[in-house]
Amino acid sequence: MEKKKLTIAITGLNNIDSPGPGVPVIRGIKDSNLNARIIGLAYENLEPGIYMPGLVDKTYLMPFPSTGSEAFLERLEYIQEKEKIDIIIPNFDSELYLFIKYSTKLLEMGIHTFLPTMEQFEERHKDNLPEYAKKYGITVPESKAIMNSNELANLPKPLSYPYFIKGKYYEAFKVSNQSQAVYYFNKLSAKWGLPVVVQQAIHGTEVNVIALGDGEGNTVAAVPMRKQYITDKGKAWGGITLNDERLLEITHHIIKQTKWRGGMELEMIKTDDGEYHLIEINPRIPAWVYLAVGAGQNIPEMLCRLALGEKVDPVTKYEFGKMFIRYSWDLIGDIADFEKIIIFGEL
């Protein structure tokens, strides 16, 4: 008997120099045993995933999250009427609030998600990391959320140069003096809003973990990685899976303590002394998810199954020493496709 065909909608089709996770999430689903029709949800009409051959079956433009919940729900209702979506996997930090807030309403419409709770989402914000660390017994660098550039002149000790100035949702810049700090504060607050976070720079190697929590304290999947090639935007352009037991222990601890639900990425600094400092928790699947798939843990597939209420057994095995290397590739498109996206908002 043929498996039921699922309709899965994915955001984050912006496979650009600061890539969204949509395209690798879709690749994971296509590599799995799921029989899926893929609906792309795009925010901009030149997101490459819209045009990549064989990737999405249909794409719809979405209103930016900043437009508000009414436009967001209205658009999803329109798409749902046409597509009968079973699962949505949102992949942008900035849209998660709406998807979490309206997850019950989406479910009433027949759309399943597998997202952190609003409390989980809110408490791991960059500006709340010190409290988060204290609550769950995690080591984090000294940091402070600031609302005004004047505060940069009087940062509490032991915060000192160099430190990072971090945007509310994305981007971080290392600064070594006051004028750099003020410049980036203004830039980041204008782009992502307030607060802006000042975080002490820790000397060491950045290591990341992609993980999936089942919402009951179990780590369903986890793969650690070290970036091998980092772009000027701080994005991994190459990476390798690690055999780092301590890093996995910390991951299991965080997921157990928080009962994390959904995909996540832990960004950590490993010092030369072997200490780990958590610098950020991203509450969604990261753009390097396809490395985890290649190493033996198909996190997008597992997330879909969890969203449908299936029992998913935790996977602990993965291959270490697996690498990914990104590349850019020029697609040749037709103006007619571009026209459809511009005029009708769908392709």
Binding site: T205, V207, M225, R226, Q228, G239, I240, T241, L242, N243, D244, K270, F320, G321
Partner: protein
């Protein structure tokens, strides 16, 4: 597992350290020394083996071995 045994080392001299993701390259002599270290041979035994296999004197063999051991220590591949 000892630090040395946790490394993935190819016959071509490529060393991969799975705990950190770092990779290194070494030459025939490096591979030779690693093999002896894995067999828990003493420094003197390794120097003698280098002298025999690479046709070098005692001073050269000793210098080469200690230089390589320094490298392995610096990169935290041995204690």
């Amino acid at each position: 597992m000892s630090k040395l045994n946790s490394l993935a080392i190819s016959d071509n001299g490529f060393i991969f350290k799975p705990s950190t993701g770092e990779s290194f390259t070494t030459n025939e002599l490096g591979l030779f020394i690693i093999q002896f270290l894995k067999e828990n041979k003493s420094g003197e035994e390794i120097i003698n083996a280098i002298m025999q296999d690479f046709d070098v004197d005692n001073v050269t063999a000793g210098r080469d071995m200690y230089e390589f051991l320094d490298f392995l220590k610096k990169e935290n591949m041995i204690d």
